[in-house]
């Protein structure tokens, strides 16, 4: 990153202050969030200190603006985002001046294009999600199979009655009865399918499987329950007042909340925040410093207020079958719902060595993508000697980093939407064209 001239510094400080004030943050609050002292932030805001790339990025992320907006102002930010749009959509730019020209002469059109790009990306994410659901949602697959099977029976039987002559009366009666039964069955199956796909439309409930409901519940709570009453009664009220409708999803939510309560009792908020101040979101360092289990620290990091950190923190947790039972998505790191994730993700490797921590840098090659620091560990339950398979649960914490991705492991979201060429772990064709 280039150094700033004095005139730049003046603008950077002013823009940071304006944005901070606009966000309703005090100087001390913002300083704590980005890991610097309030006096140092004061110097920056009064244009008396240069700021380095890492700090600029943290400030931008915390203030929810592009780093280029802080460093170079609104128009430069517009140019940078236009150029990013062009790269994302594979549009070759004749020269960088074209974007700057558009931003300067037609800023509203430039903004319109950026908004369109954002919309396109949102739609692409939706398509990815739906594709994942159509391919791997076992409930949906089973429902569609039932519908197709019943339609087949009706079509085949009705064709016999229409096309074939001289059918004995007893056979005619039999086929009429079959069609009647199948048409009733089809109506019920279609009704159930529509209800499954469109449950939210009638009562505001969350549609989908119990896991979808749990995901939506956690997302609505911003993935933490800081300050909530987590006594048994409190958990009951939280669940009852939520949009969790199915008994299954309510049981899942209660189970999660009990685990969350146990974690917060063993690793109290004040102690945990001190550790975060000392070690950031370094799960291994915190677990080591506090002598607590790493899986617990990973859960605490994933399910704490996002304001405690200067990066987004995501989580994927699976059981021995590879099925996810907890998901906290993070921008650029898509986690599919139905157990079809990239087999290169280290949480799957961790399943084979419970208790051992795996640290990896991952480059996610999805549409949004990015480079992520990850730490994975599996924990073992009911490990007493016997013939029963012990329960193993594996966790992977991810957070975006901006380091050089050269030594990272390339991963995807799922084979179906992954374009990594020559991947030895590929198990199905990609809709993006990669062969097995």
């Amino acid at each position: 990153m280039r150094g700033f001239l004095m005139s730049d510094i003046v603008s950077v400080g002013v823009r940071i202050r304006e944005r901070r004030v606009g966000s309703g943050l005090k100087q001390a609050e913002l300083a704590e969030m980005v890991g610097i002292s309030a006096s140092y932030l004061n110097l920056i805001e009064h244009n008396r200190r240069r700021i380095a790339g890492g700090l600029l990025n943290r400030l931008a992320q915390t203030l929810k603006v592009d780093a280029s907006f802080l460093s170079e102002g609104a128009q430069a930010s517009l140019v940078a985002r236009l150029q990013e749009c062009a790269v994302y959509h594979g549009v070759p730019l004749a020269d960088d001046g074209a974007a700057a020209d558009l931003a300067a002469r037609h800023p509203k059109w430039a903004q319109f294009m950026i908004d369109l790009d954002r919309k396109v990306r949102q739609l692409e994410q939706t398509v990815d999600g739906l594709s994942d659901r159509l391919s791997h949602d076992p409930h949906l697959a089973a429902s569609l199979h039932e519908v197709l099977t019943t339609v087949t029976a009706i079509r085949s039987t009705s064709s016999i009655l229409v096309d074939m002559k001289d059918i004995e009366p007893e056979w005619q009666n039999r086929f009429h009865r079959n069609i009647s039964e199948d048409s009733h069955r089809l109506a019920e199956e279609a009704q159930a399918l529509v209800g499954y796909l469109d449950g939210a439309a009638t009562d505001g409930a969350v549609s989908g499987s119990p896991w979808d409901e749990l995901d939506a519940f956690l997302a609505e709570q911003d993935y933490h329950f800081f300050g909530c009453d987590l006594s048994d009664d409190g958990v009951g009220r939280l669940v009852q007042s939520s949009r969790l409708t199915s008994r299954s999803s309510q049981v899942l939510a209660k189970r999660f909340l009990r685990l969350y309560r146990s974690d917060t009792e063993q690793l109290m908020d004040n102690k945990f925040r001190d550790a975060i101040n000392a070690h950031g979101h370094d799960a291994i360092a915190i677990a080591s410093a506090l002598s607590v289990p790493l899986p617990m620290v990973i859960r605490r990091l994933a399910f704490s207020p996002k304001e405690w950190f200067n990066v987004q923190i995501g989580l994927a947790a699976c059981d021995a079958s590879g099925s996810f039972f907890l998901r906290k998505p993070v921008t650029g790191f898509h986690i599919p719902r139905f157990g079809s994730a990239c087999p290169l993700w280290p949480l799957f490797g961790a399943l084979q060595s419970p208790g051992r921590a795996f640290e990896s840098v991952l480059t996610h090659t999805g549409r949004e993508g990015g480079t992520f620091a990850s730490v994975s560990v599996a924990e073992l339950f009911s490990a007493e000697i016997g013939t029963h398979q012990p329960t193993v649960l594996s966790y992977m914490l991810v957070s975006q980093i901006h380091d050089d991705a050269a030594l990272s492991i390339k991963v995807g979201a799922a084979c179906r939407v992954c374009a990594i060429a020559g991947c030895k772990s590929r198990r199905e064709l990609s809709i993006l064209g990669e062969d097995l």
Binding site: L144, H145, L148, T149, T150, V151, T152, A153, R155, S156, T157, S159, I160, D163, M164, W171, R174, F175, N178, E181, D182, E428, L429
Partner: protein, 122 residues
């Protein structure tokens, strides 16, 4: 007695309809409704053609086909895979495992009849 077809399908009304049209066309139709012992039934009944559903209780049609082609007693018997799983990847998997023909549900009776005749007389 005409040539024989073994229909392995768990939906009784589809079994009834296909059995009817094949019988009317002169075929001897045998039926079986689960995947558990389907490979044994193919071996003992020794049909001229197998019509095989994929989503079967006990064992999937793909597994039955794989076992049939890899060491079954009648590895050469033509197999028509008839399934509601009609995606390209299912079709490709069926042929990779040795299916003679693949049809997705819902199908037309005429197409089933024509395909059965073609496979047995090939």
């Amino acid at each position: 007695m005409g040539k024989s077809v073994l229909l392995i399908e768990d939906e009784p009304n589809i079994v009834e309809a296909i059995s009817f049209i094949l019988s009317r066309d002169g075929w001897s139709v045998m039926t079986h409704s689960n995947g558990h012992d389907a490979n044994n039934v193919i071996e003992t009944k020794s049909p001229d053609l197998v019509i095989l559903d994929v989503m079967l209780p006990g064992k999937s049609g793909f597994d039955i086909l794989r076992d049939l082609r890899q060491g079954g007693a009648r590895p050469e018997v033509p197999v028509l895979v008839l399934t509601a799983r009609g995606q390209t990847k299912d079709r490709e998997l069926a042929f990779a495992l040795g299916a003679s023909e693949f049809m997705s549900k819902p199908f037309s009776n005429g197409d089933v009849l024509e395909t059965v005749r073609r496979l047995v007389n090939a």
